[in-house]
């Protein structure tokens, strides 16, 4: 069973976001970059499947050179090889263009399953996975918390929680799964794993290598154009509910929720 895991590098979730002076992007210096947390679930699930069915796990990332570090982390966890799509012309690409480049790189690989995260914790889009599946013409199973591949390796059953329900969905392979928390507990890279990762193959590809036209990527190729990035809207200053006892405080809060916030 050959498995592809798409890996996006994102700012660590603790990062303070600073908006660049031009007001259309964020300041990228001083950011600690990590693997998108959802992609860790993808790596883990791929490794578990490999342990059961054999085959290879290939990690594919798109972004600048620094993404190599996150790919190496996945290799240290146990993935077999990495591909980095790196091209200056990609800077500022939107989800559509990103998915196009990833799908083009994946198209020529041998795969039964592809994992992406259900969303990137940076742009909070959740569009790339489904778009890759569309470009490759394979089914997608989104936001999956549990999955099982049939013994013959030809189909899978996956659990997809939706509002108030869990859908049990069946699909043939190849298919693309987007991962959700609950799917598994990602393993940590071990020291021997880290040593080994240094010798695992990591190939770099440019848009030209993929036969793609740079004009369709980057800022210029965006279908969704960013007009402005601003800090979140300010909330009105909150009140601390005063009172001598918990009862008084609770009474004060209930009154405010009734009279001022008009909740009930």
């Amino acid at each position: 069973m050959n498995i592809i895991v798409c890996l996006k590098q994102v700012p660590d979730t603790e990062t303070q976001i600073k908006i660049a002076p031009e007001g259309k992007s964020i300041v990228k210096d001083d950011i600690k970059w990590v693997m998108n947390p959802y992609d860790e679930f993808g790596v883990e699930e791929a490794l578990k499947l490999k342990e059961k069915f054999g085959g290879e796990v290939t990690v594919v990332g798109l972004g600048p050179k620094r993404v190599t570090e996150s790919i190496r982390t996945a290799l240290a966890m146990g993935a077999d090889k990495g591909i980095l799509i790196n091209d200056d012309a990609l800077e500022g690409s939107d989800s559509f263009a990103t998915a196009k480049a990833l799908a083009t790189a994946i198209k020529d690989l041998d795969y039964d399953l592809i994992f992406t995260g259900q969303r990137g914790v940076d742009d909070d889009m959740g569009v790339v996975g489904a778009s890759i599946a569309e470009f490759l013409g394979i089914p997608q199973l989104s936001v999956i918390v549990k999955m099982e591949v049939a013994e013959d390796g030809k189909s899978l059953t996956a659990h997809r929680p939706v509002e108030g329900q869990v859908l049990v969905i069946e699909s043939s392979l190849p298919a693309l799964v987007t991962t959700q928390k609950g799917l598994n507990e990602p393993r940590y890279a071990t020291l021997p794993g880290i040593m080994k990762a240094k010798r695992k193959p990591l190939e770099e590809k440019t848009l030209a290598d993929l036969g793609l036209d740079p004009a369709q990527f980057g800022e210029g190729g965006r279908k969704v154009k960013i007009l402005e990035i601003t800090p979140p809207p300010k909330r009105t200053e909150g009140k601390i509910v005063e009172g001598e006892t918990p009862q008084e405080k609770a009474a004060g809060l209930a009154k405010l929720l009734h009279e001022e916030a008009k909740i009930f």
Partner: protein
Amino acid sequence: MAPGVWTIVEQRDGEIRKITYEIVSEGRRLADELGQKLTVVLLGSDIKDKATELGHYGADRVLVADDPRLGTYTTGAYVSVISQLAKAEEPAMILMGASSQGKDLSARLSARMGAGMAQDCTAFSLEDGNLVAIRPTYAGKAYEKVTFEDSWPQMATARPNVMSIAEPDTSRSAEVVDASFNLEDSAVMTKVVEVRKDESGKIDLTEADKIVSGGRGMKGPENYKILEDLAEVIGATVGASRSAVDAGWRPHSDQVGQTGKVVSPNLYIACGISGAIQHLAGMSTSKVIVAINKDEEAPIFQKADYGVVGDLFEVVPALTEEVKKYL
């Protein structure tokens, strides 16, 4: 590009879901401002009778795709049908809810249409006839204002519970049109083999009007009873922080935050939750935020409209009694 605003209906077991009314109301507003028609696309099995109600909420036209294979949502079938209809009619915009279904559908549909897509938006407006959307990014630490360039149709989804629902007007009626489409079995691709309903009758956090959430300050799973009591009285759904979920006190599906659910209720009560940035990411678009925490320095108080500094084990039961006076 032809004019016209499209919104996609979300139905389950033939019942229209609340998010549909939010997006139809919003579509109506945009169509009025553009001076264009609002077409509401209704997919399902034996579903045509729902068109009347959609007319009351502002649809000029309801485009009905009726097929047994559209009764239960599958990505493949819905994308196939909607893309055929959209390619035939070329609407300017396609809007839907950022529900589980809407997110899955919009992502794939946008790729099939070759269109740009803005996910999980909190506001829409128009500039020179183009859709402009506001969307939280970096877990709500920044807000993006986006528009669409040389991209057709302009596609976006709206975060549930954020956009308001217009009063239905029973004097309005929509033209009901049978859609013509050709759905190949091979386009369906996946099969829903089982639907496991949450029998608790609990409203999903993403749709809840009120949420009472508990964090590590709850001390243990047995103590959530006091939150459930409050939730029961005010009609809320109980949520949790990641610490509570990781401790095994609550299921994953209860987690609010950056790696959990993004919620926008009218009322969010955080009990024994410190307000870590990753938690705030999931609830910062709530309308009224209440924090109950014994540590007055807890960061949650900076986001709260109302803060109570105190022991939740004393304050929460007292609050449950106090709110009864107003119900």
